[in-house]
Subunit: 213 residues, 2 copies
């Protein structure tokens, strides 16, 4: 494995590679050339080869990629086989929707439990995940050390809540609060979900349909 | 305005530009250099200049950009001032969360109404938006011609529903169903929300914290 600084752009393309390869794999495709994969993904074959070269040697000149192998290698690079565990903090409508519909297992995450302040929710289960009272959050994290917290709480509590969880050792935040979170602690990462970006992309496309063909 | 084919990469960066400029504008920042903007956004100044050159001439050599002007010009390019109207199809947990928390108005979209099959929801309001029965969908779209449909329905009905709406003239789909939608109709666009990509990016980062500093 070569050691080099991997750019943000490459990091953001990795999940897309995984998603496309997973789809091809499920369709029973065994091999694919970088040209065909590039066409599907709307990037160039040389971009694909360059991206993958950050992580080692993949595929054989003239034979393309073995789909199952490349899928599992990229999955490994992404940490899908690391056994990460997460908690969902906030079981309102968005938290509920994620617990109910999102296939965490498929990308290697186990959902430990969820937390909420609402007495109506505490003690109930959503898709087999128990909702616990927020008062138990600190004790739970101290004892079970989940790697990631999904934040689906109101904006006003987002940063203080993140601070508490960081102090307890949580390393990753899947942040749906629309608050730009920050920390001084090294090794802690936030992935902010910006719903607005995709809606604006859509707005652009319907505004200029002639440009896209 | 120059006419040229704008790449997907540029189109995807435009909403980010808008988001950062909007934030700067709200903080009262009047001017910003492409260097400072690039540092904030983690891209190079020359990338910014190159991206913006697709759409005309912005900023003055040595003076940087007027934040308010560039924000409104990019907003215009994105179609924020086009008066687009949308409907939300599916008022389950995710639809509910979007109606309740997402600031559609801020990016120039008016939410006309929402549709659902559940008798318990029909006739209720979420954040001033009325939930109508699915049986009224066709008639409503024929009469009011919304530009965009937000799809927060079960996977099994996603494609047939999109087909019906496309036949009635809907041009854009903000697609939360995790189904890859397609159409033969020109001028129709899908923006798929891939929650999984950001969770995998997070997984990557917590797997290789040493690479990121």
């Amino acid at each position: 494995m070569k050691k080099q600084k991997v750019s943000d752009a490459v990091i953001h393309r990795l999940p897309r590679y995984y998603r496309y390869l997973d789809e091809l794999h499920n369709k029973g495709v065994v091999r694919i050339s970088s040209n065909s994969l590039g066409q599907k993904m709307d990037i160039t074959a040389s971009q694909i080869r360059q991206d993958l070269s950050c992580f080692g040697e993949f595929g054989q000149q003239g034979y393309g990629y073995n789909v199952a192998e490349l899928r599992s290698e990229i999955g490994h690079i992404l940490g899908i086989d690391s056994g990460y565990r997460l908690i969902v903090v906030g079981a309102g409508h968005l938290g509920h929707a994620l617990l109910q519909n999102f296939d965490f297992q498929k990308v290697g995450f186990q959902v430990d439990t969820a937390f909420d302040v609402s007495p109506a929710l505490i003690g109930t289960k959503i898709h087999d995940v128990t909702i616990r009272p927020m008062e138990e959050l600190e004790h739970y994290v101290e004892e079970y050390h989940p790697n990631v917290a999904v934040l689906t709480v109101p904006q006003s509590v987002a940063q203080p809540l993140a601070d508490r969880l960081i102090a307890l050792g949580v390393k990753g935040f899947w942040n749906f609060t629309n608050v730009e979170l920050s920390t001084q602690t090294k090794g802690v990462f936030f992935e902010d979900i910006h719903f607005v970006d995709t809606l604006l992309t859509l707005s652009y496309r319907i505004s200029r349909p002639e440009e896209l063909y």
